[in-house]
């Protein structure tokens, strides 16, 4: 009897763990293997040699459009009369946006509202609503029908250790 109860308890625990695990696995991965402030333009073009590069930083991939903002400075060396921000190599990915061809739904992301603030970031397209995690540096923008419009990855507050000493 005791063994049966223990087996039942284990089964329930297993189910709970599997549900949590499967939910986490179901969350769409839109990062495309890019690590902010580390992956460079060279890395990207090596990774996607057949991409349709429309402009510096615009890559049309089979699953969507990648808009990349590369770092213009050489680490913390001032250029163009401006102060640099990051102690990272030139052409490192500073920020990027992915616009999926087949957009997942809002529910697919299982976003925890505690970790995201909501904002309407596109005043020219006011129907779009964004869920932003400033610590992780991720910004999901959804269409009025609940589909993902785009996801933007930017240096979160955790990236502070990459800042130039004199940078703001």
């Amino acid at each position: 009897m005791r063994k049966t109860k223990l087996a039942m308890l284990l089964l329930v625990c297993e189910i709970i763990v599997s549900v949590i695990t499967s939910s986490a696995q179901a969350q769409p991965d839109m990062r495309h293997g890019i690590t902010l402030l580390r992956t460079t333009r060279f890395d990207l073009e090596a990774k996607y040699p057949n991409s349709d590069q429309r402009a510096v930083g615009t890559y049309v991939l089979p699953d969507g459009i990648l808009l990349v903002d590369f770092y213009e400075f050489d680490r913390c060396k001032p250029s163009y009369g401006l102060k640099p921000t990051w102690d990272v190599p030139k052409w490192a990915v500073e920020e990027y946006t992915f616009i999926p061809t087949t957009p997942p739904m809002f529910n697919d992301f299982h976003l925890d509202p505690i970790h995201f603030r909501t904002e309407r970031e596109s005043p020219h397209v006011p129907d779009l609503i964004s869920y932003i995690n400033d610590i992780e540096g991720v910004d999901y923008t959804f269409n009025p029908d609940g589909t993902l419009n785009q996801v933007r990855y930017f240096p979160g507050t955790r990236s502070g250790n990459h800042r130039c000493p004199q940078g703001d």
Binding site: R54, A55, V56, G57, T58, Y59, V60, I65, L66, L67, D69, E72, F73, S79, Y80, L82, T97, I99, T101, P103, R120, E121, S122, P123, H124, V125, P126, D127, L128, T141, N143, P144, T147, N149, Q150, R152
Partner: protein, 390 residues
Amino acid sequence: MNQFGVKQQGMVFADGGILAKQWKNGSFEKVRWEHTNPATGVIWRTDDSGTLLGREELDPLGAEMGKVNPYTSGSGGGGTGGDCEGVHVHTQQPAANDVDGSCYLNGVAAPCGTVMNMLNHGGATQIDLSKTDDMGRPQVREPKTPDGVEIAGIWGKLKSLFKNPRAKELSDRLSADSSTEDPYEPDPQELKEALDKPIIVNSDIHVSESAHASSDRPTIPTDTLPTNLRERVLRIRDGCAEYTNNYLRALGSGYNSLTFGALYDRIKTIEISSEPYAKAGLNTGEGMSYPGLSTTNNNSRQVYIYPDERTANSNQEFRWNKIAETVFFELFHHANSGSTYTDQAMDNAALNLMSAKDKAATKDQAHRDKWRNGTIANRAFNANCFNRGK
């Protein structure tokens, strides 16, 4: 006078008989002429346009008297001319605004139209042809205020009257209460045609500024889309085809400058409306931060333009060009095949077309000045398309 002392009826006497009656019913005023055949005593009644209203008994001789004013001859003169001849016992038919000695006010020759206008609008209480001056001219009493005080300087008063007495009269009739009991309501079509005739300004009457202001139609502020909006938008595209192409490529869009017309045609609604702005809480402060908005709803695409009546009224062509620029810019939001491009994506595309130096400078300024999303793209279009060469 009614029980409140307001004038209801005026009469014109000739040779001791009634020549014309003027009466008022609310805001409705009319003149009815009575034409009496001195030989037979048959009375014909016509309105001020000469329309036969009826007669009291038939001519015992069976002679047809017709329905024209019996004191006139000929058919010229038109308009109010026919009204005037009744005031004057002679048979000349002057034009309404001619001063030919046919009509008099206080013994002074006056345009017949003016005299009748005064009669119609209550300015003249009574024209008594039985009383004449030394020269035998009929007398018109000075108009009086409701208190019975005579208004001095009748000509000064006349100067501030209407540009075209006939037009004013007809206009008053059109706006008169339809419930009026007058059985001789003129045909609205006839009145409309009369009103549509060019207004003849009486050279004898100087119309004061205030009279102009009151008679001119007020300017109603309107902001409209140009009928050739698509053409204007494509003209902008033509003027910056290269940047349009490059920008669409930088967005990763499937559209290009050659297919921009198809992009325009994707939009189901282009409308001037402040409603979507109010809904989104935009443009609530001073100035117009966002001249255009893009939305999608049930797979249909909309572009909204924020109204700007003031610019539309001061320079319509300028406003229409601005609307075309706004629509042109908003179309790039709709260049995403599945949904709309965000302002951030628009900014990214603009940055991706800049040199490293310009890009760094733009990002720096945007950060320092806290530019809102979309500003970088907007400025890029101003520089490359809208303000080129200015």
